[in-house]
Protein backbone atom coordinates (compact mmCIF):
# COMPACT_ATOMS: atom_id res chain seq x y z
CA UNK A 1 0.00 0.00 0.00
CA UNK A 2 2.75 2.41 1.00
CA UNK A 3 4.72 1.49 -2.11
CA UNK A 4 1.83 2.29 -4.42
CA UNK A 5 0.86 5.63 -2.91
CA UNK A 6 3.76 7.56 -4.39
CA UNK A 7 3.23 6.63 -8.07
CA UNK A 8 -0.53 7.16 -7.61
CA UNK A 9 0.12 10.66 -6.38
CA UNK A 10 2.48 11.34 -9.25
CA UNK A 11 -0.16 10.24 -11.73
CA UNK A 12 -2.80 12.39 -10.05
CA UNK A 13 -0.56 15.46 -10.23
CA UNK A 14 0.18 14.70 -13.86
CA UNK A 15 -3.54 14.51 -14.57
CA UNK A 16 -4.20 17.85 -12.94
CA UNK A 17 -1.31 19.50 -14.77
CA UNK A 18 -2.58 18.14 -18.08
CA UNK A 19 -6.13 19.37 -17.51
CA UNK A 20 -4.96 22.79 -16.37
CA UNK A 21 -2.66 23.07 -19.39
CA UNK A 22 -5.43 22.25 -21.85
CA UNK A 23 -7.78 24.58 -20.01
CA UNK A 24 -5.27 27.42 -20.10
CA UNK A 25 -4.50 26.83 -23.77
CA UNK A 26 -8.15 26.68 -24.81
CA UNK A 27 -9.08 29.64 -22.62
CA UNK A 28 -6.52 31.81 -24.35
CA UNK A 29 -7.81 30.87 -27.80
CA UNK A 30 -11.50 31.34 -27.19
CA UNK A 31 -13.79 34.10 -25.99
CA UNK A 32 -12.93 34.71 -22.29
CA UNK A 33 -16.54 35.67 -21.66
CA UNK A 34 -17.61 32.09 -22.45
CA UNK A 35 -14.55 30.24 -21.28
CA UNK A 36 -12.02 32.13 -19.15
CA UNK A 37 -8.49 30.79 -18.96
CA UNK A 38 -7.17 29.09 -15.85
CA UNK A 39 -5.05 32.04 -14.80
CA UNK A 40 -7.99 34.38 -15.15
CA UNK A 41 -10.15 32.17 -12.92
CA UNK A 42 -7.29 31.94 -10.45
CA UNK A 43 -7.05 35.71 -10.42
CA UNK A 44 -10.76 35.98 -9.69
CA UNK A 45 -10.44 33.41 -6.93
CA UNK A 46 -7.71 35.46 -5.36
CA UNK A 47 -9.86 38.58 -5.61
CA UNK A 48 -12.68 36.75 -3.83
CA UNK A 49 -10.35 35.66 -1.07
CA UNK A 50 -8.66 39.03 -0.67
CA UNK A 51 -11.97 40.90 -0.48
CA UNK A 52 -13.21 38.54 2.24
CA UNK A 53 -16.33 37.70 0.24
CA UNK A 54 -15.37 34.07 -0.11
CA UNK A 55 -14.40 33.64 3.54
CA UNK A 56 -17.70 35.04 4.81
CA UNK A 57 -19.72 33.02 2.33
CA UNK A 58 -17.78 29.90 3.18
CA UNK A 59 -18.48 30.28 6.89
CA UNK A 60 -22.18 30.84 6.25
CA UNK A 61 -22.46 27.77 4.07
CA UNK A 62 -20.52 25.58 6.49
CA UNK A 63 -22.69 26.81 9.35
CA UNK A 64 -25.82 25.80 7.50
CA UNK A 65 -24.28 22.49 6.48
CA UNK A 66 -23.10 21.61 9.97
CA UNK A 67 -26.40 22.45 11.68
CA UNK A 68 -28.50 20.61 9.12
CA UNK A 69 -26.16 17.62 8.99
CA UNK A 70 -25.93 17.39 12.77
CA UNK A 71 -29.71 17.31 13.16
CA UNK A 72 -30.02 14.94 10.20
CA UNK A 73 -27.40 12.62 11.67
CA UNK A 74 -28.91 12.47 15.14
CA UNK A 75 -32.43 11.89 13.83
CA UNK A 76 -31.14 9.52 11.15
CA UNK A 77 -29.20 7.41 13.64
CA UNK A 78 -32.11 7.14 16.05
CA UNK A 79 -34.62 6.32 13.34
CA UNK A 80 -32.17 3.93 11.66
CA UNK A 81 -31.61 2.04 14.89
CA UNK A 82 -35.31 1.80 15.67
CA UNK A 83 -36.20 0.63 12.18
CA UNK A 84 -33.18 -1.64 11.92
CA UNK A 85 -34.10 -3.38 15.17
CA UNK A 86 -37.61 -4.26 14.10
CA UNK A 87 -38.32 -6.24 10.95
CA UNK A 88 -41.95 -5.08 10.78
CA UNK A 89 -41.05 -1.42 11.04
CA UNK A 90 -38.33 -1.96 8.49
CA UNK A 91 -40.79 -3.52 6.05
CA UNK A 92 -43.32 -0.78 6.69
CA UNK A 93 -41.00 2.13 6.00
CA UNK A 94 -38.73 0.55 3.40
CA UNK A 95 -40.66 1.77 0.34
CA UNK A 96 -41.01 5.30 1.68
CA UNK A 97 -37.36 5.59 2.65
CA UNK A 98 -36.19 4.13 -0.63
CA UNK A 99 -38.26 6.58 -2.64
CA UNK A 100 -37.16 9.49 -0.47
CA UNK A 101 -33.56 8.33 -0.71
CA UNK A 102 -33.52 8.32 -4.48
CA UNK A 103 -35.49 11.55 -4.98
CA UNK A 104 -33.39 14.69 -5.60
CA UNK A 105 -34.24 16.53 -2.39
CA UNK A 106 -33.67 19.87 -4.16
CA UNK A 107 -37.13 19.34 -5.61
CA UNK A 108 -38.52 19.88 -2.12
CA UNK A 109 -37.46 23.53 -2.10
CA UNK A 110 -40.90 24.89 -3.13
CA UNK A 111 -42.63 22.85 -0.42
CA UNK A 112 -40.12 23.80 2.24
CA UNK A 113 -40.53 27.45 1.28
CA UNK A 114 -44.29 27.12 1.44
CA UNK A 115 -44.26 25.50 4.89
CA UNK A 116 -41.20 27.02 6.55
CA UNK A 117 -40.39 30.25 4.67
CA UNK A 118 -37.00 31.13 3.26
CA UNK A 119 -34.92 32.00 6.35
CA UNK A 120 -32.12 30.09 8.05
CA UNK A 121 -34.47 27.68 9.83
CA UNK A 122 -36.21 26.80 6.57
CA UNK A 123 -32.82 26.24 4.98
CA UNK A 124 -31.84 23.94 7.83
CA UNK A 125 -35.01 21.97 7.14
CA UNK A 126 -33.94 21.49 3.53
CA UNK A 127 -30.41 20.42 4.50
CA UNK A 128 -31.88 18.08 7.09
CA UNK A 129 -34.15 16.50 4.48
CA UNK A 130 -31.21 16.29 2.11
CA UNK A 131 -29.11 14.10 4.39
CA UNK A 132 -31.39 12.32 6.84
CA UNK A 133 -32.36 9.43 4.58
CA UNK A 134 -28.76 8.58 3.82
CA UNK A 135 -28.06 8.26 7.52
CA UNK A 136 -31.25 6.30 8.16
CA UNK A 137 -30.53 3.84 5.36
CA UNK A 138 -26.91 3.22 6.33
CA UNK A 139 -27.68 2.91 10.03
CA UNK A 140 -30.56 0.54 9.40
CA UNK A 141 -28.40 -1.62 7.13
CA UNK A 142 -25.59 -1.66 9.68
CA UNK A 143 -27.86 -2.59 12.57
CA UNK A 144 -29.48 -5.38 10.57
CA UNK A 145 -26.17 -6.77 9.38
CA UNK A 146 -24.55 -6.70 12.81
CA UNK A 147 -27.65 -8.22 14.40
CA UNK A 148 -27.68 -11.04 11.90
CA UNK A 149 -23.97 -11.67 12.32
CA UNK A 150 -23.83 -11.66 16.10
CA UNK A 151 -27.28 -12.49 17.40
CA UNK A 152 -26.36 -16.05 18.25
CA UNK A 153 -23.00 -15.15 19.71
CA UNK A 154 -24.67 -12.62 21.99
CA UNK A 155 -27.44 -15.03 22.96
CA UNK A 156 -25.10 -17.91 23.63
CA UNK A 157 -23.15 -15.73 26.05
CA UNK A 158 -26.45 -14.81 27.68
CA UNK A 159 -26.43 -11.09 27.02
CA UNK A 160 -29.58 -9.20 27.86
CA UNK A 161 -31.22 -7.13 25.14
CA UNK A 162 -29.72 -3.96 26.54
CA UNK A 163 -26.26 -5.54 26.82
CA UNK A 164 -26.53 -6.80 23.26
CA UNK A 165 -27.40 -3.33 22.08
CA UNK A 166 -24.62 -1.58 23.97
CA UNK A 167 -21.87 -4.14 23.54
CA UNK A 168 -22.63 -5.53 20.10
CA UNK A 169 -25.11 -3.63 17.93
CA UNK A 170 -23.90 -0.13 18.67
CA UNK A 171 -20.14 -0.65 18.32
CA UNK A 172 -20.71 -2.89 15.32
CA UNK A 173 -22.83 -0.28 13.54
CA UNK A 174 -20.63 2.74 14.16
CA UNK A 175 -18.67 2.37 10.95
CA UNK A 176 -21.87 1.99 8.92
CA UNK A 177 -23.29 5.07 10.59
CA UNK A 178 -20.19 6.99 9.65
CA UNK A 179 -20.52 5.92 6.03
CA UNK A 180 -24.10 7.16 6.13
CA UNK A 181 -23.02 10.52 7.51
CA UNK A 182 -20.37 10.80 4.81
CA UNK A 183 -22.94 10.11 2.09
CA UNK A 184 -25.37 12.44 3.82
CA UNK A 185 -22.75 15.15 3.91
CA UNK A 186 -22.53 15.11 0.12
CA UNK A 187 -26.28 15.56 -0.25
CA UNK A 188 -26.36 18.08 2.59
CA UNK A 189 -23.81 20.17 0.70
CA UNK A 190 -26.00 20.15 -2.39
CA UNK A 191 -28.99 20.99 -0.24
CA UNK A 192 -27.19 23.87 1.48
CA UNK A 193 -26.15 25.39 -1.84
CA UNK A 194 -29.62 24.97 -3.26
CA UNK A 195 -31.11 26.61 -0.21
CA UNK A 196 -28.71 29.53 -0.44
CA UNK A 197 -29.32 29.98 -4.15
CA UNK A 198 -33.06 29.56 -4.35
CA UNK A 199 -34.33 30.47 -0.91
CA UNK A 200 -32.88 33.45 0.94
CA UNK A 201 -29.61 34.30 -0.83
CA UNK A 202 -26.63 33.76 1.44
CA UNK A 203 -23.28 32.00 1.62
CA UNK A 204 -21.59 30.39 -1.33
CA UNK A 205 -24.95 29.85 -2.97
CA UNK A 206 -25.54 33.58 -3.21
CA UNK A 207 -22.01 34.18 -4.55
CA UNK A 208 -22.63 31.63 -7.32
CA UNK A 209 -26.01 33.10 -8.04
CA UNK A 210 -24.68 36.64 -8.19
CA UNK A 211 -21.83 35.64 -10.51
CA UNK A 212 -24.27 33.84 -12.76
CA UNK A 213 -26.67 36.75 -12.93
CA UNK A 214 -23.90 39.18 -13.83
CA UNK A 215 -22.63 36.80 -16.52
CA UNK A 216 -19.22 36.55 -14.90
CA UNK A 217 -18.10 33.14 -16.08
CA UNK A 218 -14.74 33.56 -14.34
CA UNK A 219 -16.51 34.17 -11.02
CA UNK A 220 -18.75 31.16 -11.51
CA UNK A 221 -15.74 29.01 -12.21
CA UNK A 222 -13.89 30.35 -9.20
CA UNK A 223 -16.92 29.36 -7.10
CA UNK A 224 -17.06 25.93 -8.67
CA UNK A 225 -13.40 25.34 -7.84
CA UNK A 226 -14.01 26.40 -4.25
CA UNK A 227 -16.98 24.04 -3.95
CA UNK A 228 -15.11 21.15 -5.54
CA UNK A 229 -12.14 21.52 -3.21
CA UNK A 230 -14.39 21.91 -0.16
CA UNK A 231 -16.41 18.80 -1.02
CA UNK A 232 -13.26 16.79 -1.71
CA UNK A 233 -11.64 17.82 1.57
CA UNK A 234 -14.79 17.11 3.60
CA UNK A 235 -15.26 13.67 2.05
CA UNK A 236 -11.61 12.75 2.46
CA UNK A 237 -11.76 13.84 6.09
CA UNK A 238 -14.81 11.66 6.72
CA UNK A 239 -13.16 8.71 5.04
CA UNK A 240 -10.14 9.07 7.25
CA UNK A 241 -12.33 9.30 10.31
CA UNK A 242 -14.11 6.13 9.21
CA UNK A 243 -10.85 4.33 8.75
CA UNK A 244 -9.73 5.44 12.18
CA UNK A 245 -12.90 4.17 13.75
CA UNK A 246 -13.16 0.89 11.87
CA UNK A 247 -9.76 0.00 10.46
CA UNK A 248 -10.89 -3.61 9.89
CA UNK A 249 -13.51 -2.48 7.39
CA UNK A 250 -11.96 -1.89 4.02
CA UNK A 251 -15.23 -2.31 2.22
CA UNK A 252 -17.50 0.67 2.13
CA UNK A 253 -21.22 0.98 2.43
CA UNK A 254 -21.73 2.74 -0.89
CA UNK A 255 -18.90 1.90 -3.24
Amino acid sequence: MKRRSLPDLVWAVLGIVLIVAVWQFYGQLTNPFLFPSFTRVLGQLWEYIASGILGRAFVETMGLLVVGLAIGSVVGIVVGIVIGSNANLSATFAPFIQVAYSTPRIALIPLVMLWFGVGFNAQVVLVFLSCVFEVVTATEAGVQLVTKQYREVARSFRLSRLQTFIKVILPGSVSYIFSGIRLGMGSAFVGALGAQMFMQASGLGSVVKHAMQSFRTDQVMACVITLAITAAVLTAGMRRAEQRIAPWRNDSFDD
Binding site: Y150, E152, F157, P247, W248
Partner: protein, 286 residues
Protein backbone atom coordinates in the same frame (compact mmCIF):
# COMPACT_ATOMS: atom_id res chain seq x y z
CA UNK B 1 -10.65 -54.67 3.84
CA UNK B 2 -8.02 -54.44 6.55
CA UNK B 3 -10.14 -55.66 9.42
CA UNK B 4 -13.62 -56.95 9.85
CA UNK B 5 -15.61 -53.79 10.48
CA UNK B 6 -18.56 -55.76 11.86
CA UNK B 7 -20.50 -54.49 14.82
CA UNK B 8 -17.61 -54.52 17.24
CA UNK B 9 -17.17 -50.75 17.11
CA UNK B 10 -20.71 -49.95 17.94
CA UNK B 11 -21.19 -48.91 21.52
CA UNK B 12 -20.72 -52.19 23.23
CA UNK B 13 -20.84 -51.61 26.90
CA UNK B 14 -24.45 -51.32 28.01
CA UNK B 15 -23.30 -50.12 31.45
CA UNK B 16 -22.05 -46.95 29.75
CA UNK B 17 -25.58 -46.06 28.67
CA UNK B 18 -27.22 -45.70 32.03
CA UNK B 19 -30.94 -45.57 32.41
CA UNK B 20 -31.84 -42.20 33.85
CA UNK B 21 -34.29 -43.62 36.35
CA UNK B 22 -32.10 -46.44 37.58
CA UNK B 23 -28.66 -44.86 37.59
CA UNK B 24 -27.34 -42.91 40.59
CA UNK B 25 -26.17 -39.31 40.22
CA UNK B 26 -22.60 -40.26 39.45
CA UNK B 27 -23.35 -42.04 36.19
CA UNK B 28 -25.94 -39.54 35.03
CA UNK B 29 -25.43 -38.24 31.51
CA UNK B 30 -24.37 -34.63 31.16
CA UNK B 31 -26.75 -34.08 28.28
CA UNK B 32 -29.81 -36.22 27.84
CA UNK B 33 -31.47 -36.05 24.45
CA UNK B 34 -34.53 -38.16 23.88
CA UNK B 35 -37.01 -38.36 21.04
CA UNK B 36 -36.19 -34.91 19.73
CA UNK B 37 -38.12 -33.81 16.67
CA UNK B 38 -37.51 -30.54 14.92
CA UNK B 39 -39.01 -29.07 11.79
CA UNK B 40 -38.43 -25.72 10.18
CA UNK B 41 -40.98 -23.58 8.42
CA UNK B 42 -39.61 -20.95 6.11
CA UNK B 43 -40.92 -18.96 3.18
CA UNK B 44 -39.47 -21.55 0.81
CA UNK B 45 -40.51 -24.78 2.52
CA UNK B 46 -43.24 -25.52 4.98
CA UNK B 47 -42.56 -27.94 7.81
CA UNK B 48 -39.23 -29.27 6.66
CA UNK B 49 -38.30 -32.09 9.04
CA UNK B 50 -34.71 -31.50 10.17
CA UNK B 51 -34.41 -33.93 13.09
CA UNK B 52 -36.33 -37.17 13.44
CA UNK B 53 -36.46 -38.90 16.83
CA UNK B 54 -32.93 -38.07 17.93
CA UNK B 55 -31.65 -39.90 21.00
CA UNK B 56 -28.26 -39.33 22.58
CA UNK B 57 -26.71 -39.37 26.01
CA UNK B 58 -23.57 -37.35 26.37
CA UNK B 59 -21.37 -38.49 29.23
CA UNK B 60 -19.71 -36.06 31.60
CA UNK B 61 -16.21 -35.12 30.45
CA UNK B 62 -16.31 -36.96 27.16
CA UNK B 63 -15.47 -35.65 23.74
CA UNK B 64 -18.26 -36.63 21.37
CA UNK B 65 -18.54 -35.78 17.69
CA UNK B 66 -21.72 -35.39 15.67
CA UNK B 67 -20.82 -36.70 12.24
CA UNK B 68 -23.00 -36.79 9.15
CA UNK B 69 -23.64 -35.56 5.65
CA UNK B 70 -24.37 -31.92 4.91
CA UNK B 71 -27.87 -30.81 5.84
CA UNK B 72 -28.56 -33.74 8.18
CA UNK B 73 -29.26 -31.46 11.12
CA UNK B 74 -26.00 -31.50 13.10
CA UNK B 75 -25.96 -27.74 13.55
CA UNK B 76 -29.63 -27.81 14.44
CA UNK B 77 -29.02 -30.34 17.21
CA UNK B 78 -26.06 -28.36 18.52
CA UNK B 79 -28.10 -25.18 18.62
CA UNK B 80 -30.90 -26.99 20.39
CA UNK B 81 -28.44 -28.07 23.08
CA UNK B 82 -27.16 -24.49 23.20
CA UNK B 83 -30.71 -23.27 23.83
CA UNK B 84 -30.59 -21.15 20.70
CA UNK B 85 -33.19 -23.08 18.72
CA UNK B 86 -36.49 -24.41 20.06
CA UNK B 87 -37.55 -27.96 19.22
CA UNK B 88 -40.96 -29.46 18.57
CA UNK B 89 -41.08 -32.46 20.86
CA UNK B 90 -38.92 -34.76 22.94
CA UNK B 91 -36.61 -33.65 25.71
CA UNK B 92 -33.20 -32.13 26.08
CA UNK B 93 -31.80 -31.97 29.61
CA UNK B 94 -28.51 -30.65 30.89
CA UNK B 95 -27.80 -32.13 34.34
CA UNK B 96 -31.49 -32.99 34.61
CA UNK B 97 -32.67 -29.45 33.85
CA UNK B 98 -34.65 -29.03 30.65
CA UNK B 99 -33.02 -26.68 28.17
CA UNK B 100 -35.24 -23.67 27.46
CA UNK B 101 -32.68 -20.92 26.92
CA UNK B 102 -28.88 -20.62 26.67
CA UNK B 103 -27.39 -22.08 29.85
CA UNK B 104 -24.47 -20.64 31.79
CA UNK B 105 -22.98 -24.14 31.76
CA UNK B 106 -22.62 -24.05 28.00
CA UNK B 107 -20.30 -22.09 25.72
CA UNK B 108 -20.01 -22.23 21.99
CA UNK B 109 -17.23 -21.93 19.43
CA UNK B 110 -18.56 -20.72 16.09
CA UNK B 111 -17.64 -21.91 12.63
CA UNK B 112 -16.85 -18.42 11.36
CA UNK B 113 -15.35 -17.54 14.72
CA UNK B 114 -17.94 -14.83 15.48
CA UNK B 115 -15.26 -12.52 16.83
CA UNK B 116 -15.86 -8.81 17.27
CA UNK B 117 -13.51 -6.92 14.96
CA UNK B 118 -13.76 -3.76 17.04
CA UNK B 119 -12.48 -5.50 20.14
CA UNK B 120 -8.92 -6.59 20.80
CA UNK B 121 -8.11 -10.24 21.45
CA UNK B 122 -8.42 -9.55 25.17
CA UNK B 123 -11.67 -7.67 24.65
CA UNK B 124 -13.09 -10.59 22.73
CA UNK B 125 -12.09 -13.09 25.40
CA UNK B 126 -13.54 -10.85 28.10
CA UNK B 127 -16.86 -10.66 26.29
CA UNK B 128 -18.59 -13.59 27.96
CA UNK B 129 -17.21 -12.54 31.35
CA UNK B 130 -18.59 -9.04 30.95
CA UNK B 131 -22.01 -10.42 30.23
CA UNK B 132 -21.73 -12.59 33.34
CA UNK B 133 -20.90 -9.49 35.40
CA UNK B 134 -17.37 -10.54 36.37
CA UNK B 135 -15.62 -7.46 37.83
CA UNK B 136 -12.88 -5.71 35.83
CA UNK B 137 -9.68 -6.97 37.39
CA UNK B 138 -10.71 -10.60 37.67
CA UNK B 139 -12.08 -10.42 34.16
CA UNK B 140 -8.76 -9.20 32.82
CA UNK B 141 -6.80 -11.85 34.65
CA UNK B 142 -9.10 -14.63 33.56
CA UNK B 143 -8.95 -13.44 29.96
CA UNK B 144 -5.14 -13.34 30.05
CA UNK B 145 -5.06 -16.83 31.52
CA UNK B 146 -7.05 -18.27 28.64
CA UNK B 147 -5.25 -16.20 26.01
CA UNK B 148 -2.02 -17.72 27.30
CA UNK B 149 -3.60 -21.16 27.33
CA UNK B 150 -4.29 -20.96 23.61
CA UNK B 151 -0.80 -19.57 23.04
CA UNK B 152 -1.71 -16.04 22.02
CA UNK B 153 -0.15 -14.18 24.96
CA UNK B 154 1.77 -11.85 22.68
CA UNK B 155 -1.37 -10.87 20.79
CA UNK B 156 -3.63 -9.71 23.64
CA UNK B 157 -3.79 -6.21 22.26
CA UNK B 158 -4.09 -7.16 18.60
CA UNK B 159 -7.34 -6.94 16.71
CA UNK B 160 -8.76 -10.09 15.08
CA UNK B 161 -8.15 -8.68 11.60
CA UNK B 162 -4.44 -8.73 12.37
CA UNK B 163 -4.48 -12.46 13.07
CA UNK B 164 -4.49 -15.51 10.83
CA UNK B 165 -7.58 -17.72 10.60
CA UNK B 166 -6.08 -20.32 12.91
CA UNK B 167 -5.22 -17.69 15.48
CA UNK B 168 -8.69 -16.19 15.24
CA UNK B 169 -10.24 -19.55 15.97
CA UNK B 170 -7.99 -19.93 18.99
CA UNK B 171 -9.38 -16.60 20.20
CA UNK B 172 -12.85 -18.07 19.69
CA UNK B 173 -11.83 -21.07 21.78
CA UNK B 174 -10.34 -18.86 24.52
CA UNK B 175 -13.50 -16.76 24.60
CA UNK B 176 -15.62 -19.86 25.09
CA UNK B 177 -13.31 -21.44 27.68
CA UNK B 178 -12.99 -18.21 29.66
CA UNK B 179 -16.53 -18.53 30.99
CA UNK B 180 -15.46 -21.94 32.34
CA UNK B 181 -18.24 -23.89 30.68
CA UNK B 182 -19.10 -27.41 31.73
CA UNK B 183 -20.11 -28.12 28.15
CA UNK B 184 -18.27 -26.80 25.12
CA UNK B 185 -20.10 -26.84 21.80
CA UNK B 186 -18.15 -26.51 18.58
CA UNK B 187 -19.77 -26.24 15.16
CA UNK B 188 -17.17 -27.15 12.56
CA UNK B 189 -14.61 -24.98 14.31
CA UNK B 190 -12.01 -25.83 11.71
CA UNK B 191 -14.32 -25.53 8.73
CA UNK B 192 -13.15 -22.10 7.67
CA UNK B 193 -9.45 -23.00 7.83
CA UNK B 194 -7.10 -24.40 5.22
CA UNK B 195 -6.13 -28.08 5.41
CA UNK B 196 -2.74 -27.51 6.98
CA UNK B 197 -3.88 -25.08 9.68
CA UNK B 198 -6.85 -27.34 10.33
CA UNK B 199 -4.63 -30.33 11.10
CA UNK B 200 -2.25 -28.36 13.31
CA UNK B 201 -5.07 -26.75 15.24
CA UNK B 202 -6.89 -30.04 15.78
CA UNK B 203 -4.06 -31.51 17.80
CA UNK B 204 -3.35 -28.25 19.52
CA UNK B 205 -6.97 -27.95 20.54
CA UNK B 206 -6.87 -31.49 21.84
CA UNK B 207 -3.99 -30.69 24.16
CA UNK B 208 -5.62 -27.43 25.27
CA UNK B 209 -8.88 -29.19 26.02
CA UNK B 210 -7.11 -31.84 28.04
CA UNK B 211 -6.46 -29.08 30.58
CA UNK B 212 -10.18 -28.52 31.05
CA UNK B 213 -12.78 -30.86 32.43
CA UNK B 214 -15.40 -29.74 29.97
CA UNK B 215 -17.69 -32.08 28.12
CA UNK B 216 -17.19 -31.42 24.44
CA UNK B 217 -19.65 -31.79 21.60
CA UNK B 218 -18.15 -31.22 18.17
CA UNK B 219 -20.00 -31.00 14.87
CA UNK B 220 -18.04 -32.13 11.85
CA UNK B 221 -18.48 -33.82 8.51
CA UNK B 222 -14.90 -35.02 8.43
CA UNK B 223 -14.51 -38.67 9.40
CA UNK B 224 -10.82 -38.15 10.17
CA UNK B 225 -11.46 -35.15 12.35
CA UNK B 226 -14.05 -37.07 14.33
CA UNK B 227 -11.73 -40.08 14.75
CA UNK B 228 -8.70 -38.08 15.77
CA UNK B 229 -10.51 -35.95 18.34
CA UNK B 230 -13.34 -37.93 19.86
CA UNK B 231 -14.04 -40.50 22.52
CA UNK B 232 -17.29 -41.31 20.76
CA UNK B 233 -18.87 -40.51 17.43
CA UNK B 234 -22.59 -40.16 16.76
CA UNK B 235 -23.24 -40.93 13.10
CA UNK B 236 -26.23 -39.20 11.52
CA UNK B 237 -28.43 -40.36 8.69
CA UNK B 238 -29.11 -37.82 5.95
CA UNK B 239 -31.98 -35.38 6.38
CA UNK B 240 -34.24 -35.74 8.29
CA UNK B 241 -31.41 -36.31 10.74
CA UNK B 242 -31.44 -39.38 12.92
CA UNK B 243 -28.55 -40.84 14.89
CA UNK B 244 -27.88 -44.21 13.25
CA UNK B 245 -25.18 -45.40 15.60
CA UNK B 246 -22.80 -44.28 18.30
CA UNK B 247 -19.24 -45.55 18.08
CA UNK B 248 -16.57 -45.83 20.75
CA UNK B 249 -13.27 -44.56 19.47
CA UNK B 250 -10.83 -46.74 21.41
CA UNK B 251 -7.67 -45.19 20.07
CA UNK B 252 -4.87 -44.47 22.55
CA UNK B 253 -4.41 -41.09 24.25
CA UNK B 254 -2.74 -38.65 23.97
CA UNK B 255 -3.23 -38.56 20.24
CA UNK B 256 -1.05 -37.05 17.57
CA UNK B 257 -0.79 -37.46 13.82
CA UNK B 258 0.63 -40.96 14.37
CA UNK B 259 -2.79 -42.43 15.31
CA UNK B 260 -3.74 -42.20 11.68
CA UNK B 261 -1.30 -44.97 10.80
CA UNK B 262 -2.69 -47.43 13.35
CA UNK B 263 -4.53 -50.44 11.88
CA UNK B 264 -7.29 -49.79 14.36
CA UNK B 265 -7.72 -46.30 12.93
CA UNK B 266 -7.99 -47.63 9.39
CA UNK B 267 -10.55 -50.20 10.49
CA UNK B 268 -12.71 -47.66 12.27
CA UNK B 269 -12.45 -45.28 9.38
CA UNK B 270 -13.61 -48.03 7.03
CA UNK B 271 -16.45 -48.88 9.33
CA UNK B 272 -17.70 -45.32 9.41
CA UNK B 273 -17.48 -44.96 5.66
CA UNK B 274 -19.49 -48.14 5.32
CA UNK B 275 -22.07 -46.75 7.69
CA UNK B 276 -22.30 -43.59 5.62
CA UNK B 277 -22.19 -45.36 2.28
CA UNK B 278 -25.79 -46.52 1.89
CA UNK B 279 -26.49 -42.92 2.71
CA UNK B 280 -24.41 -41.77 -0.22
CA UNK B 281 -26.18 -44.25 -2.52
CA UNK B 282 -29.54 -43.03 -1.42
CA UNK B 283 -28.42 -39.51 -2.13
CA UNK B 284 -27.40 -40.46 -5.64
CA UNK B 285 -30.68 -42.18 -6.36
CA UNK B 286 -32.86 -39.29 -5.33
Amino acid sequence: MAADPGVSFVTRAPEKQPDLAAAPHTARPKVWIEGVMKSYSSKAVDNLLALRDVNLQVRPGEFISLLGPSGCGKTTLLKIIAGLVPFDSGRVDIDRDPVTEPSSKVAMVFQNFGLFPWRTVRGNVEFGLEAAGVPGKLRRETAEEYINLVGLGRFSNSHPSQLSGGMQQRVGLARALAVRPEILLMDEPFGALDAHTRELLQFEMLSILQKTQATIILVTHSVDEALVLSDRIAVFSPSPGHIMEVLDVDLPHPRDAAVKSLPRYAAMRQHIWDALRPVAKKDDAS
